[in-house]
Symmetry: D3
Subunit: 287 residues, 6 copies
């Protein structure tokens, strides 16, 4: 016959949950492709919170599909092994040894650590790479860059089977993909996320990055962009460096049928939830 101290915390939380309903309803049954990468991926606490949020999305009736990168970790391993990369026009050449190391790091180490974090949070994650069940078939992007790949075909049947199971699994995907002749190709994770989002008819492609979103010339966050806006930012030089391929991935994804793309900050916990389930939103939405 326990008694309870009165307090109001629970009631405030309940109010918040209640307010999330219309947002959750909007995404029921929708596929949300999330590119996880950047500094968040190297931070254990952020990774755990990310995994927790992904499980929440699944619990709320959405279908999250995770794609991850891992550039810094690959670089670090190449360094440990004392493998020097060649560069052509400022871009790293992926020779066979390099892509082999990239595969070990991405499909082996990083992929399974994300899987494990999601499972620790109560989800049921399954790690895949572009090679599994021919998820992504690639070929060389540019002969000079070696085994740097560009997707030429997707077969999403394994994702369909896994997410349609009851209760469903959460696919976690490394972008290393196979070529027609059995080669391995290192595909950019944003690009891989983009083509999968298109093939899956995703409602959202969410690109987690290391900045708050797309900025204008005065470093103010732009919250809503049309495809034309985004292309304009590239053209007029406002978008620079790594933001250019992100904007290209975003506009390509929208053109291939993804409802909207969000570029948001992965360094702050729960950005996914703020974007999807509150009217505040987070980062930059391109549609």
């Amino acid at each position: 016959m326990h008694k309870r101290r009165k307090n109001e915390t629970g009631w405030t939380s309940a109010q918040t949950l209640s307010e999330a309903l219309p947002f959750i309803q909007r995404y029921t049954g929708s596929t949300i492709v999330i590119k996880f990468g950047g500094n968040a991926m190297g931070d254990e606490v952020l990774t755990q919170k990310f995994a927790h949020d992904v499980v929440l999305l699944k619990q709320f009736g959405l279908r999250p599909v995770i794609v991850h990168g891992g550039g810094p970790q690959i670089g670090s391993m190449l360094e440990k092994l004392d493998i020097k990369s060649e560069f052509v026009d400022g871009l790293r050449v992926s020779d066979m040894e390099t892509v082999g190391i990239a595969e070990m790091v991405l499909s082996g180490a990083i992929n399974k650590s994300i899987v494990q974090a999601i499972n620790q949070a109560g989800g049921r994650a399954v790690g895949l790479s572009g090679k599994d069940a021919n998820l992504i078939t690639a070929n060389a992007k540019d002969a000079k860059l070696g085994f740097t790949g560009t997707p030429i075909a997707t077969d999403i049947s394994v994702i369909d089977v896994l997410t349609a199971a009851d209760p469903g699994f959460i696919p976690v995907i490394s972008p290393i993909s196979g070529g027609a002749a059995g080669e391995s190709f290192n595909v950019n994770a944003d690009t891989a996320a983009g083509v999968l989002a298109g093939a899956l008819g995703a409602s959202r492609l969410m690109l987690l990055t290391d900045i708050e979103g797309v900025m204008d010339k005065d470093k103010n966050l732009l919250t809503n962009l049309s495809v034309e806006d985004a292309l304009g930012l590239i053209k007029d030089g406002t978008a620079k460096g790594g933001m250019i391929p992100k904007l290209t991935t975003a506009t390509d994804a929208v053109k291939s049928g993804v409802e909207a793309v969000v570029i948001l900050d992965g360094r702050r916990a729960h950005g996914l939830l703020v974007e999807l389930f509150t009217d505040q939103g987070a980062g930059t939405l391109i549609r």
Copy 2:
């Protein structure tokens, strides 16, 4: 190219949603039978919030089943029609005219207003009574009380069909039930909720009332009771009046396989969410 003012409301909400995950996971796929009644039912704003919370439960993967009463509304209609009730041992006798009015009010007016509130909140509610698809078969509780009924059989197949549909429906049940000879019986809503919770193998039976929960002799809320505790409170006179049949319903439900029963205050919005999805809890849990 909209820009956004910075504020933190969304981030706080996201944090709250995130914290609810382990609670939601605990109830995934569980049937939650909720008796809606008392003053809340007469209050339009509280009814809307209740409906909203029920839809949230459904969205979170639970299977809510609503049972409602409506004593005051029946009394008010009997008064308008100038029908005087006979009383035996202080209990109202339900003659055929009275049970007919009760059916109109419960199965017609109240049932459909709850259905409509849930549908307005984005759910898909279906109103039923004990008569539909032989959900509850009753007979006379006591010959002297006329058509006041006690359940003698349940057939939950229509609830199974409705909740198993994809996306599922939310059953809203009036306790007026049929007898073997085609009579109508007025079954107490708590009792109806209790037998349905047992037949459905519910995880929780939640009885919304007009007090905070079960109180000890000093008017302090008791938060956790065993079946023995509950029966002791009846025996030693601590539980009085309307609380006695509620405790009896609760202990019967636990004995018939319901995991736990919660008696909580329906006059305050979001009590269901506080009880199910926060570690604060609300009201009195009997198991």
Copy 3:
């Protein structure tokens, strides 16, 4: 070791059953929407026979869907409550109180009594109203007539789920429907039956009335009408009074895809069976 007296009754019955086969085969799997109303609804024996015939249709492999009215019972309850109705152009104005009484009588009393009669006959009926699962959404037919409604949308998913179950349920529908803002609308039962028959792709819409069928100027029964014939009868004044909206409902239903509409006498038992399963037919068929 019982012995049996010889007689021929059983053999004659068997011959009759045998002759019904080609008629039954014609309707296997077809949806038959039946508007039950008029004097039959107030007669307990006729209601029981009607319920019995509906169960027979189900047993023979048809999908009966019942829609009922209840004008006289509403009038009688309004009278008991001493509620006076306003009239505009000879039509009753449904104010909020009136539509509330109509809902209690239709969705509460009458609906459940039909459900119970069908269940007594061995069927499994489920009572619904236009509000349940948003079956019919209505708005005001004419601002001057208050909450008298006209259907603007249907969502037949709950009927599909209930009739597709194995063994299937028999839906019994009260025409009181919800509005977009949560209002209640009193929709004419013939009209409701007509729009549902269209949405369900029914083979037959059967309107049970208090006369034998459509009559010509000499009071002879017309057994077969084309849509043009029916519209002609309205135009040339042969059809009068309550027959005009019935013919309009019938022609609208045929235009929306119902194979044929039958207007027949509900005051004589087994008219449904005569129409569907014998070559005699009953009432007036419009196609």
Copy 4:
């Protein structure tokens, strides 16, 4: 705008259909194994009526399974081919040539003519023999009788697949069965019907014969027998000749789980319907 002469035939028929409902409900979903044989099988009109009644059973929601014999037709073919049978203890010896002729007549000619009659009546019949999908495996009943077989195993999976299809097929079965070494065995049709009825958990095994049913010593029809009664009739010599194996088949079937066996007259049309769907009954019921 056709008009109709008034008459009452349709209304009488409707009354009869209506009265059949409780009988039909009793057998919904039940398997009814019917042994078709004797003089009825040689009469084209009776065969057509039989086929018609079988389709009616299917339409009413029962699962008819037909087993047929064909002794006279085999005899006639053996005669045409001038094949003389050997006899041992008064029983015909089935040598390989004889069983081959029996198979042609039963599985070829008679089986397909019944299939065709049912299809002409609007059913979907599929002819099978004991050999198909190993429906019945047999071995020699008595070494001296050659290829006269007795069932030793059944595999009803093909019947389950065919009757569970939607709409379902009606299996028509010739009793010629295969042996473990690839031989053909001539199994008695009553016996085959009995073992299949047991394996299918049939509600009724109906044996159509050339007499009215089981008679007592004074030639009065016995309408109800217990298994003990039936065995007593054999023991005390009341049952004679061909009735003895029929009663043995019946009592064996009841022991293996068939609810009841009916021995009835196949020479009069619609006996199946009289027995199943009227309270008069036909023939002798053993349970």
Copy 5:
């Protein structure tokens, strides 16, 4: 603790199995209609090997459907019964007695012997004729030829149900078919196989014959023919006698959607396997 003598037989076999993989993959899930007939059908050892190969096809994931003829066996039975056939323009007239004998021989004797051979080899065969479930409806090919039939409609639903079961059944089909008025028609087995292959969307129609395949004027085997080639061989007189209707069946089948037709020698065991699963091929392929 058995020990084993070393030898290499198993390893050679494994190598062969391994090499068959790409061929098997090509036909996974494909329907293969096989006309079994000619001398092979009269040879018990060849029939067993044929049955064995059919089961292997099923095991490899193909869907074999067998159609058989039986001309010589019919002739022999007609002779035994001393039935003389009339001839018109050199073609046998099928009177009612003759088609009755043909049905007994084909649907009774031959059909069930093939069924049994397949079952002995571990398959689950079900024998059907054109009459079962209205598989083939025929009418008279030429009034002068009596009940010699030509297919006018097919209903392949029973084949779909049987082959879709898990594990699936192997249909074995006698070409005797029903007419609209309940007659029996003797349909040529090649023709029946052709129309079924078209209706089933078969990948291969394989016609087993008594010669090696289609020959050129110098008696050399032609291994690949286009439809034009095949029609040319008829036109220029290279194809003679029984080869003409075979080529016509083949070209009709290709036109109705069958991917390819193979005319091959049924007198040599395992021709089906050579054709389907080796790069050698057997007989003549027409596409």
Copy 6:
């Protein structure tokens, strides 16, 4: 109009395929767990042939599940990275860095190369590790050996979902598994294969090794062992070194319900096929 040279190769192959039927039938629908490892794994041609054989098993209706090791490749990577392992009692201690490298090599490099080889052979392989969907949960085998793990629980639901899809996927499993606290454990591949075979109710666990099988004291191959025989060989010292844990895995697997375990030579192509589909067998069978 191609012509073909006569030769007999195809006919010999067909004969071999035909003879494999009874062996294939025996394993239809059975799960075959195959541990791939040793020298074969380092040999590209052998890996391709292995992949090809696995696809053949799938095509023949078996359910292959692959588990792989990779000791030499891990050692080679540790060497490249200049990581020195500690040894306790002659066993390598897996510290956190070592198990991290092991995961990269096993779950990243080797797993995906086998997946790719199977896909190149026309299969649809999906690479998993013990971590995915909590396939294997492990804890420390011995505190002194660090993150060397022993399985304590399995959850085979992801394998069931993948192999039950139509057409099914082939799971390829790396033995690196997760611990309850989120650690990584290096589980021995034979052990992992053994517990999965038990959990899956496998018909065969096939351990590919670098010797011909289990030898007696005179170096003769033992082809059949009982569990007692196998334990005896350990006890009497006949089994030495790496063979001891293999025999322990085998006897444990048989005790947990695996029908039989085969230890066979992975260095020779097609051993799987010889063992499963010929009567010669390969290696040592323990049951």
